[in-house]
Amino acid sequence: MEPPPRMNTVRLVIVAVTMLMLAQTVWPMSVNRGLGPEPDSLDIHQAQGLSAINLLRDLREGLLSFDAKGELVPGQAESWQVLDGGKRYRFTLRPDARWSNGDPVTAADFIRAWHRAFSPQTASSTVGLLQPVVNATAVMSGKMSADALGIEAPEPGVVEITLTKPAPWFLELLAHPVSYPLHPSSMDDPRHAPVNGPFMLEKWVPRALISLKKNPEYYAANSILIDSVKYFPIEEPAAELLRFRAHELDITETIPSGRYDWLEKNLAAQLRTYPYLGSFWLGINFRRPILGHSASLRRALALAIDREILVRVVLGAGEMPAWSIVPPGISGYRPAQMVERGWSQERREAEAVRLFREVGFQAGFGKHKPLVIELRYNTSQLHRRMAVAVSAMWKQVLGVATELVNEEWKVFVNNRKMGVVTEIFRGGWIADYGDPSSFLDLFTSGSALNTTFYADSEFDQILASADRDSGVVRMERLHKAESVLMQDMPVIPLYYYVSRHLVSTRITGFADNVRDIHLSRYLGSTAESP
């Protein structure tokens, strides 16, 4: 007895539909992400590179965290109060904050971790970020015991942090791995220690794969759409692009330089570029006789560079021409851009020539005795193209002869730090926290990071006074400080960085943001196969 053929078709359809529904629900959702270079460490006090920091943000959580758009939100702390005019913070921990082994996260876990961070034996390289904390430097250098540090636990669920002076950007540092808590067991073993973040480490094969799985103890575990994240450390952007095109990656860390046009044509729906809190500039060593003493000369050099050509033709990866040190995108702050920004390039070049002749007349260089300057950069194809283009522009507009010097990375940073042989050099900065002071502090006299050796008491004073205020007044003062810098020009801004990713169209929850922070807990995926 055979059933009629129509019956068979109906059954088949039912089976097929059921299987499809099962596939939708049962299949584990996973996202594959490119990570960039192999992370330097998963120890919260040793991690320095961006790839390690990004991983730690998926594995662990501080008092604060970030939302999908990279804005600060409560993390392990459910609320906080700002006391003593911004010098003291009082955090109340979430009652449901737990470690991956089920233990509650306590204030003592934070205190313990901070004591370890500041201990000279730990030799953490990022703990300097927490310098505003009371007695930070003394504890760091071993002159005071860790108990003197400005962090306390008045109650088991309360953490209090005291600063030497108000630092409005301090909250963001509490979302940085260096300020995270540590579980009392296996403090020195980041590979096996319990974590308090949305994901747990499942497997780590150096330079091949770091796979994470959802942490069921995480307080917001129910809101996480994916079960696992696979991070692939891929150092070579060209290799990363090939793997994205072969559907092995859903999100890339970057794009290869020089491929922007091709990607815009062929992968427009996947290409995501967005402003980033970073600036690229040419630094000028103020210890040099002519360059260091003539603001007009520095301005002439700055105006002779056609930034439009630089970003479009030479770099071509979506960068934006820069006319200030602080990039746009910091909420509440208006960068102090050079007035010449609104001019046409012809007018800028005419002004450059006028300034240059004026200085040349006094300093004794001109048509028959051209000015010779040196431009130093670390070896990289992109930097070389930038340097060649800039030197061609200086030659064409001002008749300046530029000597290009390229150096291996460590040699370059070492020379830049010493400031003996450098003249004009590649420089730039990526914000540690979303505040103008992260950029402006670089130029205070005596700062270890000040490789231009620019020193101006007016600038120092304005910057110091800004920290006594808060809100709009503070931002106005910072703006004024940046105006001073743009007048004196210790650096010639060239372009603002952008973040660049390829994101598969099946991925949901990836929101572009200026901090370029994309926690995996907000990601989802619409189907299993790409």
Binding site: S124, T137, P206, R207, I234, A238, L242, K410, N415, A448
Partner: protein, 308 residues
């Protein structure tokens, strides 16, 4: 036997010279492991120097290092702080050895085969086309071949993954092929040359005169002496292939040993560079030793014991 033992003992002074030169050379390079875009505050720099003994005089650091490696402990990596150099080598070498070993095997089998065929058909169209392809294989660098292979085989055809590593055969095919290509070509040319030379010698003429079929002449009489130059080339070639190739590792994202050497030097990761240098040194010395033994076995003229 005695000779072999004394040669193995000779490894120690060679290594000591190698360690000494490498140790001071890497320290001579400007910049240190903690120099980066962000300059560290002096207190933190001081803590790091103490932790890694970089505050001690260089000579003291050298002897401290010698004392340490006697126990086969290469110390922690400066760059990959969660791993010791021993762990990194232990994880990287099997990967490099697998890819390199397969590439050596492929190159040897394919290269000698092509070489023998070309020698047998000397100065014919077959010979010229085979040697033409071999020349191409030697001259096209692998950073051109590799992305081209990925584009064709992985991106367009979708037959194999574009890179990465999980010990599966699919992920080994392209890297092994890319790595084997130039060596295959080189071995083919080497085999052809020496095979032609051997085929012109008197004893081969005798064998042929006895009426032996050409294939037997080649396999029984000509092959062994013709392979001698190939064998002596295989020693250093194998060492080069199984210790990892930076280019292959970067393009295919393979966690082998080659990148540690280059990255280690660029990062001034003193312990990692030293560990890899010593490891390479041992491998190369051992492989040369094995080649010598093989050589003696294949060529009675240089067998030591019989001379004595």
């Amino acid at each position: 036997m005695q000779h072999s033992a004394s040669r193995l003992l000779g490894l120690i002074p060679t290594l000591l010279v190698l360690i000494t030169i490498a140790f001071f050379l890497i320290r001579l390079a400007p910049g240190g492991p903690f120099d980066s875009e962000k300059i560290l505050p002096p207190e933190i720099k001081a803590n790091l120097d103490v932790k890694y003994h970089l505050d001690e005089p260089l000579l003291m650091q050298y002897f401290r290092y010698l004392g340490q490696i006697i126990t086969l402990d290469f110390g922690p990596s400066f760059q990959y702080k969660d791993w010791t150099v021993n762990e990194l080598i232990a994880r990287g070498f099997p990967v490099s050895m697998t890819i390199g070993g397969l590439a050596v095997l492929l190159a040897f089998l394919l290269g000698t085969l092509i070489g023998i065929v070309a020698a047998m058909k000397q100065n014919t169209g077959t010979d010229y086309s085979l040697m033409g392809v071999a020349m191409l294989g030697i001259s096209i660098p692998n950073f051109v071949v590799a992305p081209l292979l990925i584009l064709l085989v992985a991106v367009y055809a979708g037959w194999l993954p574009a890179g990465g590593w999980d010990w599966s055969v699919q992920r080994m095919v392209l890297p092994v092929l890319t790595l084997a290509l130039p060596t295959t070509a080189y071995i083919a040319r080497l085999t052809r040359g020496s095979m032609i030379e051997v085929l012109h010698s008197n004893y081969i003429r005798t064998a042929r005169a006895k009426g032996l079929p050409e294939l037997l002449v080649i396999l029984r009489h000509a092959l062994k002496p013709a392979l001698l130059p190939v064998i002596s080339f295989m020693g250093p070639a194998t060492a080069g292939l199984i210790t990892g190739s930076v280019v292959i590792e970067r393009i295919y994202s393979i966690p082998g040993l080659g990148s540690y050497f280059v990255q280690g030097a660029l990062n001034r990761d003193y312990t990692l560079v030293m560990g890899v240098v010593i490891f390479y040194g041992v491998i190369i010395i051992l492989l040369n030793f094995i080649v010598d033994l093989l050589y003696a076995w294949m060529n009675p003229r240089i067998r030591y014991n019989e001379v004595q």
